[in-house]
Amino acid sequence: MDRREALRSVAILLGTAISAGTTDMLFSSYTIPESEKNAVTFTADQLKTLTEIADVIIPTTKSSGGAKAAGVGKFIPMMINDCYTAKQQQSFYNGLNAFEARAKKTYKKSFALIPLVERKKMLTVLRQETLDQKANKVPEMVDITYFFTVVRDLTSLGYFSSEIGCTKAREYVAIPGSYDGAYPLKPGQKSWAT
C-alpha cells in the first residue's frame, strides 16, 4: 500500500478544490448495495448544456483548451450513470432540468445558446445559492445545488485527468526516470500531472 497516497488524499480533502459537501456525498454513496447503473438518460440537448456548463467552470485559457475541448461534456453523464446511486442520479438530473428551465424562463433559450457573459452570470448565481444552501437547507433547492456541486467536481476531475488537462494545462512526464527533490522552479512552471 502506498501510504503517501493516503496522506495525499487527506491533504486533498483539506483543500476546497473538492468541496466538503461532495465528500459527504461520496462517502454516503458507499452504503448503497444494489446495482444502480443508468437510472437516468441524458438527451443530446442536455449533453450540450452540460458541455457548456463545464466549459465555463474550466474555460480555454492562453495555455490550454478548456473542459469542452477536453471532452468533459461526455465524461460527466458517463460518471453520473456509472458512479452514482439511482437517487443521486435522479437528483442531479432534476437539478440540471431546473437549471435549464431557469435559462429558458429568463432568456427563452437553452443555456447552451445564451451568450457567455450570461452563462457566467447564471453559474455565479447558482454558486452563491449552493453556498447559502448549506445554512438555509431550502427543500426546493436541494436538487439544483446538488447538481452544481457535482457538475463542478466532475468537471474538475474529468478535466485534470484528460489529455489536455494533463499535458497542456499541467505538465505530464510519463516516465520521469529519476527524482530530484530540489528541482529549480522555472518561470511559468506548471504543476505536474500525475
Binding site: 496522506l7 465555463v56 505536474w192
Partner: protein
C-alpha cells in the same frame, strides 16, 4: 488400485507451498534452489510478470472513471471499497467480497488479493528490520509470549533476503531499534524533508531521527531487474521489475531451478494429517474453477496463505488427533490477532522553499524510527510508533474559494503552490488473547467452505498512543518551522493497515504457542508457517521483510532436517 497409486505418484512432491505471495514466493525459491521438487498452490488466477500488468502503462486519460469506483464495483466489493487501495486500475487484484464473505464480530477490514503473487504485487514495499527492542518486549512487559528468537538469530537472514530482494535505504546505526541492512543507494529526501531532518537533529540530537524510507524499489539495476523510473505507479505492477514482488524476483528464481510446479486456482481446504506418522501427508484442494476436490502429497508443507488465510486452513484441518485445528494443542491458534494502527498524525505548510519543486514521482517517503519507550523515555502506554510521510508541493487548491470556477480557478489548479509535509504514525498493537478468529459454520463461501469470523479491536494502550502520534508529529513540524499545523486522527479499524499478524504464534513452549523457533509446528513437525500468522508481536515496522527472513531461515532448517531424516 494401480490407477490410484499412479495418481498419488503424480501428485506427490518433496514440498508443498500454500500461497504465492511474499512469503510463499520465498519458500518456493529457497526450497527449489535446495533441490526439492516443489508444488506451489495459489488459490487465484495466474498473473504473468509484465504481460498481465494491464494498468501499468496507462496514462491518466486512459482510465475511464478517473480512478473512481463505479456503483457496480462498490456492490461487489463491500469491504475492499472501504479504503483507497481498491481502485479502478487495480480492480482485478482485489477479491470480490461477495464470493468470499467473512463474519465481522467487530469491524475488521480484510483486504485480500487472490492471484499469483498475492499482495506482493500491491504492497507498500517499506522494508524495515525488527531489532532486539522488538524481540524482547513481550518478555519484558508480559504481553504475548516471548519470541523464541532474538535479533542475532535473524540478522544473517535479513542480510540474505535484502541482498536478493534489493532494498534501498540509509544505514543510521540504530541497532536496537531499527538495525542497519544491506542497502542499495537511498532515494533522496526532498529539500523540505532535508530541512525538517536537520531541525529534528538540532532539537533532539540522537533521540529522534528522520531518514529516507527503506523501500523494496531498486535505485540501481539489480539481479537483472531494472531500476525505479519514479512513476509511483507500483501497485499496478512494474513493467521494469523495479520493485520486489513474487513475479519480479522469487518466482523466476524458483522456475529457473526446474523444480517448481505452480498450480493456480487451487484452494487449499485443509491439511491432511496422518495419525500414524503424526505428520501432515499433504493437502486437500478445491479447484476454484471446477469445484473438483483433489489431494497433493509431500514430505513437508509450508503454509503461506497470508495471516488469516493460513489460520483458516489450520483451523479447518481437524482430525481425531487435532479436534480444534491442526497443531492447536495450546489453544492459541486463531488468537492474538494484531494489526498496526495508523491514520493519525499531523501536517503543516513550509515557507521559504518557493524556488524549488520536485521532478519525478518518488515511490517512497520519509521514516522516523520509534523513539517512545526507548531508553529512558517512559510513557503511560507500552511500546511505540514510527512515522511515515513526506513533503510535497501542492497546487494552490487550498487558496481556491469554495466552489470557485473559471479562469482563476483553473490557474490555481495548475500552478505549484505551498509545500506541505505530513507525518503519519504507525503504532504497535499489543497481542491480546481475546482478539481472535474462528470458523463460522453458518456461512459458506462460493466454493462451499465455511468462513472466518473475526473478533478484534484496539484497546486503551493503542488509544493512548494515538495522542502522542498526533502531538509528537506536530511538535517536530513546529520545531522545523511549519505553519498551519493540523493534527488529525481519521480513525482506524483493525485490518486497515493490511499488516494483520498473529493467530499462530511462535514460542518456546508448546503449551502456549503453535510454532517453534523454526516456524515449525510444535505438534506437526513437517508443517511450517512463515507468513504473518507466526508473529508473537508486531513492532511498529512494516513487517514483510521479516516474513522474508523468517521464511528463508525456516526453509533452510526444513531442508537440513529432511536431510537428517528428521521429517
Amino acid at each position: 488400485m494401480n490407477l490410484n497409486i499412479n495418481l498419488k505418484a503424480e501428485n506427490t512432491y518433496d514440498a508443498i507451498v500454500v500461497g504465492s505471495g511474499i512469503s510463499g514466493g520465498w519458500a518456493a525459491k529457497e526450497l527449489t534452489e535446495k533441490g526439492l521438487k516443489v508444488l506451489m498452490l495459489e488459490r487465484g488466477m495466474n498473473i504473468e510478470h509484465i504481460k498481465d500488468y494491464d494498468g501499468a502503462m496507462k496514462n491518466p486519460w486512459d482510465i475511464k472513471h478517473a480512478g473512481r469506483l463505479t456503483e457496480e464495483m462498490k456492490r461487489t466489493h463491500p469491504v475492499q471499497k472501504r479504503d483507497y487501495p481498491y481502485n479502478e486500475v487495480t480492480e482485478k487484484w482485489w477479491v470480490n467480497d461477495l464470493e468470499c464473505p467473512y463474519t465481522e464480530v467487530k469491524r475488521f477490514d480484510w483486504y485480500r488479493g487472490f492471484h499469483v503473487g498475492g499482495k506482493s504485487l500491491m504492497w507498500g514495499r517499506q522494508s524495515y528490520r525488527f531489532g532486539d527492542l522488538n524481540f524482547e518486549e513481550n518478555a519484558k512487559d508480559g504481553y504475548g509470549s516471548d519470541w523464541p528468537i532474538r535479533y542475532k538469530d535473524l540478522s544473517a537472514w535479513y542480510d540474505y533476503v535484502e541482498k536478493f530482494a534489493g532494498i534501498s535505504g540509509q544505514n543510521e546505526g540504530l541497532q536496537e531499534i531499527l538495525p542497519d541492512g544491506q542497502f542499495l543507494p537511498p532515494m533522496d529526501l526532498n529539500i523540505v524533508e532535508k530541512s525538517v531532518k536537520e531541525s529534528i537533529k538540532q532539537k533532539w540530537g540522537n533521540e529522534r531521527l528522520l531518514t529516507i524510507g527503506r523501500v523494496a524499489n531498486l535505485t540501481v539495476p539489480h539481479n537483472g531487474r531494472g531500476n525505479c523510473q519514479y512513476r509511483n505507479l507500483c501497485s499496478r505492477g512494474c513493467p521494469f521489475g523495479a520493485y520486489f514482488s513474487t513475479q519480479s524476483s522469487t518466482l523466476p528464481a524458483a522456475v529457473e531451478t526446474g523444480n517448481l510446479t505452480l498450480r493456480p486456482y487451487s484452494i487449499v481446504n485443509h491439511i491432511i494429517y496422518d495419525k500414524d506418522t503424526k505428520k501432515a501427508k499433504g493437502v486437500a484442494v478445491i479447484d476454484a474453477l471446477t469445484n473438483k476436490t483433489m489431494e497433493f502429497y509431500a514430505k513437508i508443507v509450508f503454509v503461506n496463505g497470508s495471516t488469516l488465510g493460513t489460520t483458516f486452513i489450520l483451523l479447518n484441518s481437524t482430525s481425531e488427533a487435532h479436534p480444534n485445528g491442526l497443531g492447536n494443542g495450546s489453544g492459541q491458534l486463531g488468537h492474538n490477532l494484531m494489526d498496526h494502527h495508523f491514520r493519525c498524525g499531523a501536517d503543516g505548510d513550509f515557507d521559504g522553499f518557493e524556488k524549488y519543486y520536485t521532478y519525478g514521482r518518488r515511490a517512497n517517503g520519509i521514516y522516523v524510527p520509534r523513539f517512545r519507550n526507548v531508553g529512558k523515555d517512559k510513557r503511560d502506554y507500552l511500546r511505540g510508533f514510527g512515522y511515515q510521510g513526506g513533503a510535497s508541493r501542492q497546487n494552490w487548491q487550498k487558496d481556491v474559494a469554495e466552489l470557485a470556477f473559471g479562469t482563476e480557478f483553473k490557474e490555481k489548479m495548475t500552478t505549484p503552490g505551498a509545500w506541505r509535509m505530513g507525518m503519519g504514525g504507525f503504532g504497535e498493537m499489543l497481542p491480546y488473547y481475546e482478539n481472535r478468529v474462528y470458523i463460522d459454520q453458518t456461512k459458506k463461501d462460493k466454493w462451499g467452505q465455511p468462513v472466518l469470523a473475526i473478533d478484534c479491536e484496539y484497546k486503551e494502550n493503542e488509544k493512548k498512543m494515538r495522542q502522542d502520534m498526533m502531538n509528537d508529529a506536530a511538535e517536530m513540524l513546529e520545531a522545523a518551522g511549519a505553519k498551519n499545523i493540523r493534527t488529525y486522527d481519521n480513525g482506524c479499524h483493525p485490518g486497515m493497515a493490511i499488516h494483520e499478524m498473529g493467530t499462530a504464534r511462535m514460542g518456546k513452549d508448546p503449551k502456549t504457542s503453535v510454532l517453534n523457533e523454526w516456524n515449525q509446528m510444535h505438534e506437526v513437525k513437517n508443517v511450517f508457517v512463515t507468513d504473518g500468522a507466526c508473529m508473537p508481536s508486531i513492532g511498529c515496522q512494516n513487517p514483510s521483510l521479516t516474513f522474508m527472513a523468517l521464511t528463508a531461515r525456516a526453509a533452510d532448517h526444513a531442508v537440513n532436517e529432511l536431510k537428517k531424516g528428521n521429517l
